[in-house]
């Protein structure tokens, strides 16, 4: 079943007029015959709406900073914010030095009423001293939560003083939850801080090996990053830094020497990607290691960029071998999935990335969207000049970088870059809509009411989203797949990940537990059978 604009309009009639007017701009029926379809995104959530969105702190500490394993991440605020971001995101890490891996730790200044009244700077400073004395970390981050900005604690000053006392880097991030309109603001704040203070501070002035790359916007959920690295290393790439899954402060400092930056999650890390290009002359390539074809295309585009016959040959050899290995397995799963439909509403990049993998299983994505993306994630980066800053986005400081006097080095000539841009997504992202089929629905910041209504209207066979709506959907008898946490499975990236995903999705369709939803008495009258005759 398909919906048109009229059906959507009717569905939104259940809203109060103001809400309807607002939400209408966030939903559209994809139609490639139109020159441009505009969608509203990265604007305020309406108060009282059941949204999936989180806050700037979640984007900063939870997403970007948290996975850096060899830094102590102190959360300055009352206890909750630190507690909920502790161990809940599945960003896996292996420690090179197990005495410098703080991933299973949670540090909170646990502000009390007196700290709110008299200020929390002293307590924060004291906690930093305690942490240094007990753990001797290489570096510390401080993330501010809502009350901190309101009471005027100057975490930057506390950080600076602590750096002088202890001789290690202490970075302050003003990512109070009320900044911006979603996690997105926090990504930006974290990007700025890492770019300003960490990246480029390492000793290297050039790449230690050939084909040196950074992998940006890959958080190693369920081990995704490890599967991607397995493939890249075999082909001959040298991964300098991953931002930030299984990433480290030590590696991040030398990220400036890479020859190319790969961008997996555009939303959360595009700021660093762009700044690396301006400051060090390194272009970035949009990749998508979710799905077999996505992985193949990404690898081929990388090979085109490096333009090295041996590398290209190895790329093709690895692709051929991996595809031959997994295709028969995928075929089996495809038989179980073929012909089904999916909703794919996730985060800021996965709503796009998983569509290809679903398609490889014969599952058509009939609705997709993001929780906290911007218009460019839907419409492509060409739209960026058109996006007008508003009161909320203006609150996020912009970091302006200039070419580094010593370290700036154009990795490829402008002429070659211009030429490459015609064939590969070099320093560009086309957005989610470019790959969607006509008639499918695109929704930004999908909320609970719309989830229910759209499921009833479109009856998808599977719903890919997060933990907050998972059980709502399953109560409706539809399998729900968490694509933030992978339902504790994974990896889903790369070739092995595609197989895992196929297995998990097939399992969701075929589990016999669905057969018991309707009890046997439901369709059988109580007084049934024949009247006995003798």
């Amino acid at each position: 079943m398909a919906l048109d604009e009229k059906d959507l309009d009717a569905m939104l009639n259940a809203y109060p007029a103001k809400v309807k007017k607002n939400r209408k701009k966030h939903i559209l029926v994809h139609d490639s015959s139109q020159a441009r379809q505009e969608i509203e995104a990265n604007t305020r959530t309406i108060p009282g709406i059941i949204t999936n969105r989180g806050c700037a702190y979640a984007g900063c500490k939870g997403v970007v900073l948290g996975p850096l394993k060899d830094m102590v991440h102190i959360v300055h605020g009352p206890i909750g914010c630190a507690y909920y971001a502790w161990g809940t995101r599945r960003n896996k890490a292996k420690a090179e030095d197990s005495k410098q891996n703080y991933l299973n730790y949670c540090f909170s200044t646990d502000m009390q009423e007196s700290d709110i009244v008299f200020g929390g700077e002293k307590k924060l400073a004291k906690m930093i001293d305690d942490v240094v004395a007990t753990f001797h970390p290489n570096a510390i981050t401080i993330s501010a939560t809502c009350p901190v900005g309101l009471i005027g604690d100057d975490i930057g000053a506390v950080a600076k003083a602590a750096e002088q006392r202890h001789g290690i880097q202490v970075l302050g991030f003003n990512c109070e939850g009320y900044k911006g309109v979603s996690q997105s603001a926090g990504h930006h704040i974290a990007n700025n801080g890492l770019m300003d203070k960490v990246i480029g501070s390492g000793e290297l002035t050039e790449a230690p090996e050939k084909f040196a790359i950074n992998l940006l916007g890959e958080y190693n959920i369920g081990g995704d990053g490890w599967e991607i690295e397995r493939i890249l290393q075999e082909i001959g790439y040298h991964v300098i830094a991953v931002m930030t899954g299984d990433g480290s402060y030590a590696a991040l400092k030398n990220a400036h020497v890479a020859e190319l930056n790969l961008v997996q999650c555009h939303r959360s890390i595009n700021y660093i990607a762009e700044m690396l290009e301006t400051k060090y002359g390194t272009p970035w390539l949009k990749v998508n290691f979710i799905g077999i074809q996505g992985t193949i295309d990404s690898l081929r585009n990388m090979a085109i960029y490096f333009d090295d016959p041996a590398l290209t040959q190895k790329t093709e050899a690895v692709i051929a071998r991996e595809v031959a290995r997994i295709e028969p397995i995928m075929e089996q799963y495809k038989r179980l999935c073929e012909g089904k439909t999916a909703f794919c509403f996730v985060g800021g990049s996965r709503g796009h990335h998983y569509q290809g993998l679903f398609a490889e299983l014969g599952v058509k994505t009939v609705l997709a969207g993001y929780e906290f993306a911007h218009r460019d994630d839907y419409e492509g980066r060409d739209v960026i000049p058109e996006i007008k800053p508003d009161a909320d986005s203006k609150n996020i400081p912009n970091l302006t970088v200039t070419p580094d006097e010593k370290l700036f080095k154009l990795k490829i000539s402008p002429e070659r870059a211009a030429k490459l841009k015609q064939t590969i997504p070099l320093s560009n992202y086309q957005g989610l809509m470019a790959e969607m089929t006509d008639g499918s629905i695109v929704v930004d910041d999908l909320n609970h009411f719309e989830t229910e209504a759209l499921i009833k209207a479109l009856k998808p066979d599977i719903f890919a989203s997060g933990i907050k709506d998972k059980y709502v959907v399953q109560k409706m008898g539809i399998p729900a797949k968490q694509l933030h946490s992978y339902d504790y499975s994974g990896p889903y990236a790369g070739f092995n990940g595609a197989v895992n995903f196929a297995a998990d999705v097939s399992m969701a369709f075929t589990t016999p537990t669905w057969n018991y939803t309707t009890p046997p008495w439901k369709n059988q009258p109580l007084l049934a059978g024949t009247i006995e005759s003798n």
Binding site: Y15, P16, V19, T45, I46, P47, G48, I49, I50, T51, N52, G54, C55, Y57, G77, P78, I79, G80, C81, A82, Y84, A85, W86, G87, Q100, N101, N104, Y105, C106, F107, S108, D110, D115, I116, K123, K126, M127, D130, A133, T134, F135, C146, P147, G149, L150, G177, Y178, K179, G180, S182, A391, D392, E452, G466, I467, K468, D469, K475, G477, T517
Partner: protein, 454 residues
């Protein structure tokens, strides 16, 4: 695992490392779900609401619905009145609950939004209710938040009709699972006593799979029942940290006498609950419950050699930990480390008194954290750790079996449906403890020591 934790305990005076508590609003949100057809509302930035919903969802594996005022920086400067009024309007127009239960967050507490005056100037449809409570996270813990929302129910809903009190008991269950609430209700029903339980999340966060989603499942305390709680002749506050404060408020407001008991975990605490009901309502303990108790004692005696003398560390929420400590003592176990993250001297006092009576010396601490507990364990190891899921890292690091009881349990399922309270719950705890210890014994045994019967 946790290799950065040194054995040497150094004085730390600021902050928490690996906390054993979380913030007030999540408790308030959970309590509010215990009202029938109620939608909790988080007044603050949307991040808090998102985190609280996620964590409750992970624990219950069921939909947890709540709305938020979705603050932006502007709202912080000008106050959240406009956001809250818009939210109230939208909540009733779109989600149509009977009750909207507002709790605050750090942010709105810090800027000092006056919730009652905002509510009074909001558009609330006829017949609908808006209640609120203040839940600053920089005071207390999630247990305090649960108590505060329960108190909010008393403040807004409970009423006394001035007539002689009715032969019915109010049950404030505290921050426990729906399975526990059901079990407490079953015990009181078996006693033949009329009761009103609030909050009551059974039938809400343990809703059945029917192929249909209903936003407001059939469970939860009915508003008219909470209202009528002002006419009951007794309130039993189960767990002093989560329930005493609202029970006292009901006493002040409607003159319903309040009696605080332990969360009925273990034989003694269950006995005390039944005895209190027996005395107040002059109802004999029915044979059915007497048999259950007898069976429990039978199991305790028959298997005492599985656990007697074993050293145990317990951590979690104060009411649950206090009752668990009492129970393990009655099993002959030796609790040498007892810790809660929630602040409050009463915790240490109560636990120390029980330990003194049992002649056990232990480290007992309120407002502690798991980093410290881990360090204690490095100094004095135990045979068993009892606590929530966060204990699994310590359990692995120190190779100690873990029994998961409390909130949150994120890595195992079914726990929220089955009770740890009452005689049946006590039996279940014994099963968990015995199994954990015996699985360990089996795993560690040499071939020649591996036994069929244990």
């Amino acid at each position: 695992m946790l290799e950065c934790t040194p054995q040497t305990i150094t004085e730390r005076s600021a902050g928490k490392i690996n906390p054993a508590k979380t913030c007030q609003p999540i408790g308030a949100m959970y309590a509010a779900l215990g009202i029938h057809k109620c939608l909790p509302h988080s007044h603050g930035s949307q991040g808090c609401c998102s985190y609280h919903r996620m964590h409750l969802t992970r624990h219950f594996r069921d939909p947890i619905m709540a709305t938020t005022s979705s603050f932006t920086e502007g709202a912080c400067v000008f106050g959240g009145g406009a956001n809250l009024k818009t939210a109230i309007k939208n909540v009733f127009a779109i989600y149509d609950p009977d009750v909207m239960a507002i709790h605050t967050t750090c942010l709105t507490e810090t800027i000092g939004d006056d919730i009652p005056s905002i509510i009074s100037s909001a558009e609330i449809p006829a017949g609908k209710l808006v209640i609120h409570t203040n839940t600053p996270s920089y005071v207390g813990s999630h247990i305090t938040g649960f108590a505060n929302m329960t108190k909010g129910m008393v403040n807004y809903l409970a009423e006394s009709d001035g007539k002689p009190k009715k032969e019915q008991v109010n049950l404030l269950p505290g921050f426990v699972n729906p399975g526990d609430m059901l079990e407490i209700k079953r015990l009181v029903k078996a006693m033949g006593i009329k009761f009103i339980m609030f909050p009551d999340t059974s039938g809400v966060v343990d809703s059945p799979m029917t192929g249909e989603y209903v936003m407001y499942p059939s469970g939860g305390a009915k508003v008219e029942d909470i209202r009528d709680s002002g006419n009951s002749k007794l309130t039993l506050a189960l767990g002093s940290f989560a329930s005493t404060d609202p029970a006292h408020q009901l006493e002040r407001k409607c003159k319903v006498p309040a009696l605080t008991l332990k969360t009925p975990i273990g034989i003694k605490a269950t006995d005390e609950l039944l005895m209190a009901l027996r005395q107040s309502f002059v109802q004999e303990i029915p044979a059915e419950l007497a048999t259950e108790r007898g069976q429990l004692v039978d199991v305790m005696t028959d298997t005492h050699f599985h656990f007697h003398g074993k050293k145990v560390a317990i951590f979690g929420d104060p009411d649950v930990v206090i009752a668990l400590t009492e129970f393990v003592l009655s099993l002959g176990m030796v609790p040498i480390h007892v810790l809660t993250g929630t602040p409050g001297n009463a915790f240490e006092k109560k636990v120390n008194a029980m330990l003194l009576e049992a002649g056990v010396s232990a480290r007992v601490k309120a407002e502690g954290d798991l980093f410290e507990l881990h360090q204690w364990l490095k100094h004095e190891p135990v045979d068993l750790l009892i606590g929530n899921t966060y204990g699994k890292y310590i359990a692995r690091a120190e190779d100690i079996p873990l029994v998961r009881i409390g909130f949150p349990v994120l890595d195992r399922s079914v726990h929220s449906y089955l009770p740890v309270v009452g005689y049946k719950g006590a039996m279940r705890i014994i099963e968990m403890i015995s199994n954990a210890l015996l699985d360990r014994a089996d795993r560690d045994a040499k071939d020649e020591d591996f036994e069929l019967v244990m």
